[in-house]
Amino acid sequence: MDQKNIQSILQDALEEEIPSSRIHLWHAVKASLVAGRKTTQPGEPMNTTNPRRMWRVAFAGMTALTLLIITLTTPQGRAFAQSVLQFFKRADSNVLILPTEQIASAEDAGSISTAEPPAPFMSVPEAEKIAGFDAKELPSLPQGFKFAGAMADKNGMSIQYEAQGGGGHLLINESTTGFMQSEWDQAPAEAISQVKVGELDAELVQGAYVVYPGETVGRWNPDAAILRLRWISDGLWIEMAKFGDVERIEYLDQNVLLELAASLTNAPFTLAVKEAESLAGFEVLEPTWIPDVLSFRGAAFESALWQRKQNTVRISYSLNIPGLESNGIVLTQQPVRLIEDCEICDLVGAGAEVENVRIGETNGEYVVGVWAADEAGNWIWQNEPYLQTLRWRAKGMAFEILYMGPPEEVKKADLVAMAESLK
């Protein structure tokens, strides 16, 4: 069924549901405009009001007044007022009464877990595809951590770091739909601090509910080594959480966590090529030719200490097409000391059509497509024309040029030409 048929069916279905002939908005719109006219100055946006909105404003005003009175006169009201702009659910007490099934599992700790197995780790770009948004990432590795991986579903994703040598984690959970608000996620009001992440309001919690041996309730332990920070930025609900307090990550206190949170960025390619080269400790090659539709965005360094098996440099070029600037090419370079440590020498799927190409005097491989998870979480190779990859190895280095974007803008020959121009 083609696009026009689908469009026609939808139009017919909607015409049945809401006939066009019965939609008359002009009088209501005009009334709204007239209501807003008195407050408007030439050249300024209008303070517009529509009848329904006026109703809501009136209702909201009455409600606010009522709330103010309650707030000023009752303890419950004062508590309610404090709950405005809350990112953590306030627990009623320092003791958490557990549902029966959780009491059993707490007592059985150490026995066989009946929990669902954790979702598989993946790279951040893969998680972004599943979550459907560009994640905010740390521009560099926090000291003492290594990158563990990312997990995602359609509502959000989690970027996870593990303390080197174990004993701690740093999690960055991002969602477009809201925060986890389970029983265990709440905290007593006195444990919640109002803080700022940059200019944004945030809340920070130190401590956790703990079920001690022989008990059937959770008790709030303010000294538990769990630090959680929540805020909202650019439409994303973000939680950063640090677990554990081994010496290697002891430095990461509330202030450092706030600094890390403020550094989260959508643009991880913030380095100059020379800066990335200096961090990586190997000579980074740059193309002397790139397709006209691309321009240099920036470079990134990914350390063998925490994120990669080998120090890796990635150089990003974005498409110069309005609306498609986030598409483009990423050129990745990594030393290949042991082939099993090469992260850009992986196999592609059985359904992939790998093409051998010549890059100057070197053999390379070109493929169209990407690994993608299906509904059941199985990884399947999909021949998606929107992603093209060229890989080759030379002089102890592995190279990858990954192009994501409209296939008509950058073609295989362009990738090869770019590869041949590396110096």
């Binding site: 069924m1 696009q3 689908i6 469009q7 069916i9 939808l10 139009q11 017919d12 279905a13 909607l14 015409e15 049945e16 549901e17 809401i18 066009s20 939609i23 008359h24 908005l25 002009w26 209501a28 719109v29 005009k30 709204s32 405009l33 807003g36 030439p42 050249g43 946006p45 209008m46 517009t48 529509n50 329904r52 909105r53 972004e128 595809k129 599943i130 459907g132 948004f133 560009d134 359609k154 477009t176 739909t177 309005p322 609306g323 498609l324 986030s326 598409n327 299906d374 509904e375 998606e384 929107y386 992603l387 994501m404 974007g405 409209p406």
Partner: protein
């Protein structure tokens, strides 16, 4: 049947907008008359609440006047306007939190979702056709609001994937994934 032209500026729209920029609010009337049905229906596909959809469309027209000074007359009006409608509908949907699970759809809805997606003979009787339309609406209702918005823009408002990418402020790759996921979800109804 009304059609929304996205491919270039519409002369009538441009005249109305020029007058609007000069402070003549009555020039909004032809824009309302031209786009009101499409705006309410598009919002309805995301919200599945007629009253709320009308509210969203009405507010979108008021916002046109509020923000007309930000509008670039060299570009067509419709995509700019429907971006307001879709964004407001999505915000309303988030408040509404009205996502039905796939399990809530019956088998006939599943069958017709497949009919929507794959070439197949059209329903033979008028009754079947009417049922088909209803089931298609139900199938779309099962998607999360953002995917509904993508379906609305792609298949109802006839926007290209590149336009979707711009309107939704998401990379084209995300749009492709959403569309694919939406199609997969609809297709998976076959197995329910």
């Amino acid at each position: 049947m009304q059609r929304v032209l996205f491919k270039g500026p519409c002369m009538e729209d441009q005249i109305a907008i020029s007058r609007l920029k000069q402070g003549d609010w009555n020039s909004l009337e032809p824009l309302v008359n031209r786009y009101q049905a499409r705006a309410v229906q598009a919002a309805y596909l995301i919200l599945y609440d007629r009253s709320l959809a009308e509210d969203v469309a009405q507010t979108a027209f008021v916002k046109v006047v509020e923000y007309i000074h930000q509008y670039d007359e060299r570009r067509p009006f419709a995509p700019w306007f429907f971006r307001i409608v879709i964004n407001d509908a999505l915000k309303a949907a988030q408040k509404q939190k009205r996502n039905l699970s796939l399990q809530e759809l019956d088998e006939s809805a599943a069958h017709l979702a497949q009919w929507l997606l794959d070439p197949a003979p059209p329903p033979e009787s008028a009754l079947e056709e009417k049922q088909a339309r209803q089931h298609i609406l139900q199938a779309i209702q099962s998607l999360p609001p953002e995917q509904r918005a993508v379906i609305v823009m792609r298949y109802y408002l006839d926007m290209s994937e590149a336009e979707l990418s711009t309107k939704m402020e998401r990379p084209l790759s995300s749009i492709k994934w959403w569309l694919r996921d939406a199609r997969k979800r609809l297709r998976s109804l076959m197995d329910t």
